[in-house]
């Protein structure tokens, strides 16, 4: 389908990669912890190692949650853009096939939110 318009109607995407000054936007979502109301949008360099996100970035995002300190990364299951995914921790985001506007959802076994109700 295409837009109904009075003439030629072609525009570049407003959120194309080149507009983010060398970063790419990656969305991260801790499943069953809806105290954080939505997935988080993070501008990250594609060359950043996956491990660095876990050690340096996500704690500052999620550590207000009482269950955060109990997350064990080696038990976590991942989905990348709707496919099951196993990250190579020391490889970069790009080498892990995480692209611009990729979505990473992760489940933490045993941690199901406050009162076990996905909060």
């Amino acid at each position: 389908m295409t837009v109904t318009a009075i003439g030629r109607y072609e525009f570049k995407s407003r959120d194309r990669l080149e507009n983010f000054h060398g970063n790419q936007v990656v969305y991260w979502h801790w499943e069953e912890h809806l105290m954080y109301c939505a997935a988080l949008a993070l501008p990250l360099p594609p060359s950043m190692p996956f491990r660095t996100v876990l050690t340096d970035i996500l704690p500052g995002c999620y550590n207000l949650h009482p269950e955060w300190s109990r997350v064990e990364w080696d038990t976590v299951t991942w989905m990348l853009d709707q496919r099951p995914f196993k990250p190579v921790l020391d490889a970069s985001l790009a080498a892990n096939n995480i692209g611009h506007k990729s979505l990473l959802r992760f489940w933490t076994p045993g941690l199901h939110g406050i009162g076990g109700c996905a909060t």
């Binding site: 837009v3 109904t4 525009f11 995407s13 983010f20 970063n23 997935a39 949008a41 995002c61 959802r105």
Partner: protein, 511 residues
């Protein structure tokens, strides 16, 4: 000097005759330029009109009647506003938390009235038939008056409360205001027939009761007589607008059978766009009114499920069915307001109004109104947040959220059949990924991807460096928000402090 012989007395025209002159007599077939050049936008959407004179406006309002009637209404409204100010009417509201509903209205809705004015002025130029042109032009004037009277009514609150000082500027910049703004720009940048289906029919006819009744009844329940009077003043206009909405739909449907699938597609799109926008109203009803009218779920049942059933039953003879995904909206009615309030609670540090955790009494009300969802999914979250706040660690989400490309709301809505899992939908277009909060928003994107790839998503704009800086403080300055007064929790806000001072004074000086 010869006296002039008296003119023969002219018979006064009837209202019907005057209306006929206005809407038929003033139209003509152009000859210097071909009609399709004078009216260049009426055919490209694919809507076929064979007989513009088949348009009938049940109100048959003429301009002189319009001026006279509206002037009377406004004289009354301004008298009430004046007396509200002189009597310090703001002291009689139930609680200062109520004013936050007005902040949302003034920054989110009043600018839409102005956008509607522009939209109707535009289409009021571009229809071939003089009947619909006149109806649209009158509505354009109505909408301009509404924007103006709302600003005048609420400006009284601006003298005392924070966050009301620059609604027009905020509307163009503040992250959550991109939701109503992009909704209306989507409609205004469509063709004239889609615009009317979007605003006159889907919004004014199908959904407007869910916007105006809660706000105006909410004002009445909470002692805000100025806003109530504004509501009454606008009510007769709204009735006319709703009629226009139904008229235009029936007119298009009756003109040509080929119009039916086009209109159905628009109804599907604009139902979902409008419903997502009303998420803001749902949280206003269930959380922001100190004295509540009814729950969002009850309002949805009354104003959409019941009224909508009758409407779409009536339209079924043209081959129109209920809008796609209406059943998803009904599934969401038991959680919508809680999810939206959670979103705003997360990001109140970047908002022009305050949020707060409901009191125990309010939670009891929520449990009673939402027996299947509130205690199970939301009460534990709210109790945790309340405890964190009591420990001096009020929860604010430090990271910006993912937004839906279509409705632009943070992606906080859950799967239609699972309130514990966020609903993620995505699509690829020309090698780039796009994310949506629902199948409704994804369909809208896929029908016209070229339009939505241009979405001005506030989170991405901040990351691109287009919003005044990288820190919250910089962005708020760019929004014209006053850091530390307009934003953060109601608890501890200057609004709360002032209100409590007034209450203390009242207690010591009983009148």
């Amino acid at each position: 000097m010869n006296a002039m012989p008296p003119l023969p007395k002219q018979r006064k025209l009837s209202l019907k005759e005057r209306y006929a002159h206005l809407t038929r007599g003033l139209g003509w077939e152009t000859t210097y330029q071909p009609m399709d050049k004078v009216f260049p936008y009426v055919s490209y959407e694919g809507i076929k009109i064979h007989d513009w004179d088949a348009w009938e406006d049940p109100f048959r309002l003429t301009m002189d009647a319009y001026w006279k009637y509206q002037a009377e209404k406004e004289r009354k409204l301004y008298a009430v506003i004046e007396s509200f100010a002189q009597n310090n009417g703001h002291l009689n509201i139930t609680d200062a938390r109520y004013v936050n509903a007005l902040k949302l209205f003034l920054t989110g809705v009043s600018p839409l009235e102005y956008s509607a004015h522009r939209g109707y002025a535009h289409v009021g130029r571009h229809f071939v038939g003089a009947g619909p042109r006149i109806a649209c032009q009158m509505q354009a004037i109505d909408e301009l008056r509404h924007a103006q009277t709302q600003i005048h009514t609420m400006s009284h609150y601006n003298k005392f409360f924070d966050g009301l000082h620059d609604p027009r500027h905020m509307h163009d910049r503040v992250w959550y205001l991109s939701v109503p703004k992009s909704f209306f720009e989507d409609a205004c940048s469509a063709g004239p027939f889609e615009f009317l289906t979007a605003i006159s029919f889907s919004f004014e006819y199908v959904l407007t009761n869910l916007l105006f009744v809660p706000f105006m009844s909410g004002a009445a329940y909470n002692g805000d007589m100025a806003t109530v009077t504004f509501g009454f003043s606008a009510q007769s206009d709204e009735a006319r607008h709703m009629t226009l909405g139904l008229e235009i739909i029936k007119f298009m449907l009756e003109q040509d059978e080929a119009n039916v699938p086009i209109i159905q597609k628009w109804i599907d799109k604009w139902f979902w766009r409008g419903y997502r926008l009303l998420g803001l109203v749902s949280m206003m009803m269930d959380y922001m009114l100190p004295k509540r009218i009814m729950s969002w779920a009850e309002a949805w049942e009354m104003y959409f499920e019941q009224a909508g059933d009758a409407l779409f039953e009536d339209l079924s003879r043209y081959g129109i069915r209920k809008p796609k995904y209406h059943e998803v909206a009904s599934k969401e009615k038991h959680r919508l307001s809680h999810e939206v309030w959670s979103i705003f609670y997360n990001y109140t540090h970047a908002a022009a109004f305050h949020t707060w955790m409901p009191t125990e009494e309010e939670m009891t009300w929520l449990s009673a109104k939402y027996p299947d969802t509130f205690d199970k999914y939301y009460r534990p979250r709210f109790e945790c947040w309340t405890e964190m706040q009591a420990e001096g660690k009020r929860f604010y989400n430090p990271t910006l959220p993912q937004l839906c490309v279509t409705c632009q709301i943070p992606m906080g809505f859950t799967e239609p059949d699972d309130p514990t899992t966020i609903c993620f939908r995505s699509a690829d277009y020309k090698g780039e990924r796009y994310h949506f909060c629902s199948d409704g928003c994804k369909d809208i994107f896929q029908n016209e991807p070229e339009k939505y790839i241009q979405s001005w998503l506030p989170v991405h704009q901040i990351y691109q460096g287009n919003c005044g800086g990288a820190e919250v403080k910089d962005v708020l300055a760019w929004y014209h928000l006053n850091f530390g007064t307009d934003n953060f929790d109601y608890e501890g806000s200057p609004d709360q402090k002032l209100w409590e001072e007034w209450q203390a004074q009242k207690a010591t000086n009983p009148v």
